[in-house]
Symmetry: C2
Subunit: 215 residues, 2 copies
């Protein structure tokens, strides 16, 4: 059965999953990239950049696992790009170049309709204007029995957590204090929502926490 | 030079350092003891209870370290006991029996004066009514070059963090989602206050995070 999963969501020690003041120059918010340090060192990340090298090990293995068995993605509009309001034209095609790392359908939440965008390597961006539940339905259907990965951003993850829609969540907690930004859990009673932690795996540069609904 | 230190402060994955609704029956708040699971299994804890056994290992070693080099403690009144308002008599002598595990002076923050309380084994409870800075001053003097450990509760730790008074802080993050309770960092910009994480140590039942001011 298709599960809704969050993988490799980087969180600071003080609970922020993105820095403040997201912009074209700071797509992860100010100091957001510090959260991703663990990921930037992996062989997985290097290969996503079309390069060689990078570290193998626990962090890398978990990063690889994050892409395994995923049949579709859902991402918020800010994760797709910095464009706000109606699409001025078709020129923005995501942050990832001609061949994005998804290789499956990706459902982008937006208020502004746009034709599907077919990229190299199997990624197709679908723009969903009728709400997150519709995106879940479409992505689940497209996933064809595999899992649907919620790519973020934080608001999208929080919205789905608030109704206990996410089945599994992997957090990569880094040795960073952000102090400001988008807090992952504030105002969400994760215990009452049915979530439990069932595994903690120390990696080279992050502590991996695995949560599960109803565990 | 004497440092103000926090040791072995147990925190949930979602950032709570105590459960809600503290009372005589629930001195750590509802579900608070789940935060302390890592500690309850240590040989250190067992020996504090006057017993044998318990696990040795990383968690135990870090728990032992928490008592090393400490010349005085500061604790909030709720950590001393459930009594509220003026002391009705001298009968409440703390949660710890005749011989508390401190063995040094302990400064208790309270609005209500009381004579110092001399216990077995070197622990003396001093009741400080003129504010936290006075307690810091008295404890620093009593520590005689050793460190002053801030024993809690959460409100006391937060008050000292908010003015960057704490030099070092060790958090034991457990695989628990509390959902409600006393949040450690909410509303505190730990980065702006000058704190950095300089070490993460995976233990058997908790992940130990070491923060330092100005690191």
């Amino acid at each position: 059965m298709t599960k809704l999963v969050v993988k490799c969501l980087a969180v600071s020690l003080d609970g922020y999953a993105a820095g403040p003041d997201q912009s074209l120059e700071n797509p992860l918010g100010v100091r957001g990239p510090e959260l991703m340090e663990w990921f930037f060192h992996t062989r997985m990340w290097r290969s996503m950049q079309g390069g060689d090298g990078g570290e193998t090990g626990i962090d890398d293995g978990i990063a690889q696992q994050g892409f395994a068995g995923i049949g579709a993605w859902i991402i918020g509009r800010n994760m797709f790009g910095p464009v706000r309001g109606p699409w001025p034209d078709e020129s923005w095609k995501g942050w990832w170049g001609e061949e994005p790392p998804y290789h499956v359908p990706v459902f982008v939440l937006t208020h502004h309709p746009r034709e599907p965008l077919v990229m190299k390597g199997g990624t197709v961006f679908h723009f969903v204007t009728d709400g997150i539940e519709s995106a879940v339905k479409q992505a689940t259907s497209a996933a064809n029995g595999k899992d649907v990965r919620i790519g973020g951003g934080v608001a999208t993850v929080r919205q789905l957590l608030s109704t206990s829609r996410i089945d599994e969540m992997h957090l990569a907690v880094g040795p960073v204090l952000l102090g400001r930004g988008e807090h992952l859990f504030q105002g969400l009673d994760m215990h009452a929502l049915g979530y439990r932690c069932d595994k903690v795996v120390p990696g080279e540069r992050a502590t991996h926490m695995f949560l599960r609904r109803g565990a």
